[in-house]
């Protein structure tokens, strides 16, 4: 039974989790978390938890799926059965198939696929816990996994959703805000190049509200971008610090 709509924003503009309208949820990022994958990353954004892995570039089998002049990018977005309140069947749903496509199309403009003809670059994202913004967190994680795999990129891709909840335009919607709000606007971009690579909307917004959401999301992406860069540097910075502090043998 769909719950009666809760009050999502109080008189002071505080959301259910205490955030202001333009606040991101706490973001925690780790890179190189899986031993077998060529590249991997884990992203937590509030209660949303996603794990991304990249294999490739590698040979494609069967060969007729490969392209003679470039690599193919394959992407699988999948939700674990236990990631949502009502257990989800492991079989790919239509939503997962659509999201696999839009996530792939969000990452592709960042890659130099023509460098590796007749190969495939495979991106796998598993949503371990879903609380809104899973496709955006997936893109953020997948982009880091690609960099971790040493695959050349034009830029990292950062993503976040803006939207409208209780009449207020907000950033980074949780699941309850998405379900009961008036609109959800996921957006991904290469912030260093000002290029939008994913842009969707569900709900109803006036054109001005939509444009405001775009600006809100772009600002959110830039903040996430800074966190992505920090996460890529983190391991190397940490090792250097340990050596300089004499905590390392030699």
């Amino acid at each position: 039974m769909l719950a009666d709509k809760p009050r999502l924003i109080d008189e002071e503009g505080r959301r259910l989790d205490g955030r202001g309208p333009a606040d991101l949820r706490p973001v925690h990022i780790e890179v190189d978390v899986l031993a077998n994958a060529d590249g991997s990353a884990y992203v937590e954004q509030g209660n949303t938890k996603v794990l991304a892995a990249v294999y490739g570039p590698k040979e494609v089998h069967p060969r007729h799926l490969s392209l003679p002049d470039r690599a193919i990018l394959r992407c699988r977005y999948h939700m674990a059965p236990f990631s949502v309140e009502q257990r989800k069947s492991p079989a790919p749903s239509r939503r997962e198939i659509e999201l696999s496509k839009v996530i792939r199309e969000a990452l592709e403009p960042a890659l130099f696929l023509e460098y590796y003809p007749r190969t495939a670059i495979d991106v796998f994202v598993e949503v371990l816990q879903a609380d809104g913004g899973t496709r955006c967190a997936s893109i953020t994680a997948a982009s880091l996994a690609l960099a971790d795999a040493g695959i050349p990129m034009r830029d990292l891709v950062a993503a976040v959703a803006a939207g409208k909840v209780d009449g207020i335009l907000v950033l980074d919607l949780t699941d309850v805000e998405d379900k009961h709000g008036e609109a959800d606007v996921p957006l991904a971009m290469m912030p260093g190049l000002d290029r939008v690579t994913l842009f969707q909307m569900d709900g109803v917004l006036t054109p001005d509200e939509l444009k405001e959401c775009v600006k809100l999301a772009i600002d959110g992406c830039k903040r996430i971008y800074a966190l992505q860069k920090e996460a890529l540097r983190e391991r190397f910075v940490r090792i250097r610090k340990e050596i300089e502090a004499g905590e390392v043998e030699g």
């Binding site: 060529d38 590249g39 490739g56 570039p57 590698k58 040979e59 003679p68 002049d69 690599a71 130099f112 460098y115 590796y116 003809p117 007749r118 190969t119 960099a147 971790d148 795999a149 040493g150 695959i151 050349p152 990129m153 034009r154 830029d155 990292l156 290469m190 912030p191 260093g192 190049l193 860069k229 890529l232 540097r233 190397f236 910075v237 090792i239 250097r240 050596i243 300089e244 390392v248 043998e249 030699g250």
Partner: protein, 232 residues
């Protein structure tokens, strides 16, 4: 003309490295007059050329490279060898036995079979085709014993060292035989298992700390201390 980072500074993909008349080197691309990094690594600037020495990368073959790989398939007149490049490499029978070859699959597996490790040389490579290997030179051939260690290919120069300083030090301090494949596959053969463990640890340390100066000394110290502990 401006450069936004310092030499050997840690760079990530998408970083705007410089603007102006610079030439894009390794792991750098240029759009208009802006130069951007494509990989995680350390900035290098030499003769007006801006490059990034990658800390995360994979191997792309070049003719002349000495590589170490595993045979993964046997065909009619060639083997497929995994040299940890985006595409499997081809090793033709004629490039192994050094003379024209009559197709006979049984004979092929007698020379090399699936699972064999080989040291080979990249004979030819372009992006549109599989790399082609040859074993018809001295120093190349099937590996019969030893242990394989894998490192990020862009760190191979670090493992070799300036004028071979790092690899000479490793050989000297451990007494082991070391063959380094340009593809980041390293073959080691030591007199004792303890020496082998120590050398593998040293190589992993090089991989991990390659971006921090003073590496050769740190590794030498570590080896000497361990050997001292073992004998003391």
């Amino acid at each position: 003309m401006t450069i936004f980072f310092e030499r050997r500074e840690l760079i990530v993909p998408g970083d705007l490295l410089a603007e102006g008349d610079y030439e894009p080197g390794e792991n750098v691309y240029k759009e208009g007059d802006k130069l951007y990094a494509t990989r995680v690594g350390l900035l290098e600037l030499k003769d007006g050329k801006i490059s990034v020495i990658a800390l995360r990368s994979f191997y792309v073959p070049k003719p002349g490279d000495i590589v170490i790989g595993d045979v993964v398939d046997v065909g009619v007149s060639s083997w497929a060898v995994d040299i940890r490049a985006p595409r499997l490499a081809v090793l033709r029978a004629t490039d192994v036995i050094g003379r024209p070859f009559r197709p006979d699959k049984m004979e092929l597996t007698k020379i090399l079979s699936v699972g064999d490790t080989v040291i080979a040389k990249v004979k030819a490579y372009d992006r549109t085709r599989s790399p082609v290997l040859t074993m018809g030179e001295p120093g190349l051939g099937k590996v019969r014993q030893g242990r394989v260690v894998r490192i990020t290919p862009s760190k191979v120069p670090r493992l070799i060292g300036k004028k071979g300083s790092m690899i000479s030090m490793l050989k000297r301090e451990t007494g082991c035989k070391i063959v380094i494949g340009v593809n980041g596959v390293v073959l080691v053969r030591c007199k004792s298992p303890e020496d082998e463990e120590l050398l593998v640890e040293a190589i992993e340390k090089i991989e991990r700390e390659s971006h921090v100066e003073g590496l050769t000394d740190r590794v030498a110290k570590m080896i000497r201390r361990r050997k001292g502990l073992a004998s003391g």
